[in-house]
Structure formats: C-alpha cells, structure tokens
Amino acid sequence: MLASASADLVTEVPVIELKPKPEDETISTEFVFHNKGTKPVKVLKIDSACSCLSASLDKAVYQPGEKGVGKADFKVSSFSGRQEKSVHVQTDDPAQSEWVITFALDIPEIIKIEPKTLQWWLGDPAEAKVTRVTMTGSEPMKITKITSTREQVQFSFKEITPGKEYEVTVTPNSTSEIMLGALKIETDSKIPKYQRQLSFFSVYRKPAAGEAP
C-alpha cells in the first residue's frame, strides 16, 4: 500500500532558545527549518500564542526537502525568568494543518520581590507583613525611595545586605474595607526598566472554600 504524500515542516531544534541580556527590551532570532515531507506545503497563517512574540517565514510555499528561514521577535518588556512561548503556523496540508514552533527564553532576573503581593483578608488583624527585595544581578542596586498609592498603609524599608537585600514592611491602617494598592520601589539601577519596580498589597474578601481564586 502506498503511503499518502504529506508535508512535514520541522525546525532543526525542538525548542528555539533565546537568551536576552538584562537591558534588552527586544530580542530577535532567525531559525532554520525544512519540509521533511513528500508534498509541497503552503503557509496560510501564523498565529502567536503570546502578544509578546511575532514570527514570520521567508516565503509561503516550501517544496519537499526545501529549507526555509524564519524570523522571530520577542518583546522582553517586564518578563523575567524562563518563558516558553509558541507560534502556530497553519498550512494547507491536512496532515499537518498546524505546525507549532516553540521558543524558550531565559530572561535574567536582576531584582526579585517576594512575595509580589502582600495580602490581608477583610477582618484579619491589621498586622505588619514583610516583602523581601533581593538584587540578584551581578551589580549591586540600592533602593532609593518607596512611595505608596494608598494613604491607608504604613510602610518602611531596611537594608539587610547593602546593595543586595532589603526588607519592606507594610501595615494597613485597617482591614475593614477592600483596598488594592501598590508600592513604587525606586532603585539606583543603571538600566531604566529596573529603576522603578512595583509590589502590590490587598485587603480583600476571603474566597469561600472551593471558590476561585
């Protein structure tokens, strides 16, 4: 029995790795792929699963065995850590109607805020909670100033290890009303996007058991 002809677009590596620098706002890469199948394939559409990633291919139709080159642009923005994103290529071949290209990005994290949100439930004791700010990059960074978007909290910060580790303490004046707010943490980083960081705090209704979130 004869096997039916089909296209088979594949990249040279299963996952395309990207390693932006801390200061990068965007990163671009080119990748090679080829049609391993026995039938020409036409690319109909390219959808990205993330609005941060766009990709294009050098042409629309690839003959059996033909190599192609793709280009991908990733907006690093405020992403950090390892991120996996994909694009979905729709083709005219029912045997491979969708070809998924996966990208993995290792975005250096040079400032870590944990926890990112300090949370109290309505009616909780209005006690102090602490968030830890760690400068994880190679260069030391200092917190220069913190401001709050709400007046109904008290806050302070102290240096644990100069240029490396800080503790930010937040205390709500009351937990009797819903409140969502943020602390604007300013640093002396030379990289503009790290000069202002945000951490959040909330006083909110406790979800009923089993209820989202």
């Binding site: 990205s48 609005s51 923005s77 405020s78 949100t117 945000l198 909330s202 979130p213």
Partner: protein, 146 residues
Amino acid sequence: MKQALLQAVIITLLAAAVAAAALQLHPRAPALHAIKEPLKADEVGLKEIQARWQGDVIWLDARPRDQFDAGHIPSARLLNEQEFEAQLLEMLDTLQAATKPIIIYCGGQKCEASRHVREKLLTMVPVENCFILKGGWPAWKAAQQP
C-alpha cells in the same frame, strides 16, 4: 417519487460540497473544532455573558497595544503581558471598586495571553468572578456582524 428523492439527494450533496469548499477556501472560515469545544472552567461565551450579566461586565484586553488601538470592545481596558504591572497599577481603583464580573480576551482561539493575564491578575489581586472570553476578539467581532 423516486426521481424527486434522487433530485433531493443530489441537491443536498451539492449544497454540502459547496459549504465544504467555502469552509476550506474562505479566508475567515471559522475553526469548527474550536467552536465545538466545551467551555473550560475559566471561560465564558458571549451568550453566557449576556444571559448571566446582561453584558454588564468589565472588559480587559490582553492583546498588544497596537491591536488594542486598532479596535477593541467598547470600554475595555488594556492589560497585557508586556506592560502588566504598569497597566495593573493604572486600574487598581477600578478593580477595588469592581462589583461586576471581569472578562479578559485576547486575539482568538490560539491565543493564550488572556489565560496568562488572568493567572497573573489573580495571584496579585484576588478579584472575584474573573473569566476568559471563549473565542476572544474574533468571536466578539463576529457577533457584531449583521
């Protein structure tokens, strides 16, 4: 009688063939597999939004800014992965006062941005009744067609 039946079968087959061809060739043919997929726990459809809340919800658009600028659901606010924290900061007042459900949408069935934005939002701000619009912006646009 037999001939009439035969003609009916032929007409039906021809209509099905034309419909199948249109589905294959039309540049904006619907993804039928996506339409048939049942709603996930975090999803709502436009009909449900209308039925449950009469359309009175807070819309969050998880697409890139340029796509948002090109067109969005009326009254939607931009909250995407790229500028998440800065945009969240701008809408804290809205979220604090929110009593309506929050519906997040992105560019379509293949788009995962609305789900990622929802996950991030809920870890930072524990808002209630937060859902993803099934089908995203294309579903909303299609529903506006006469």
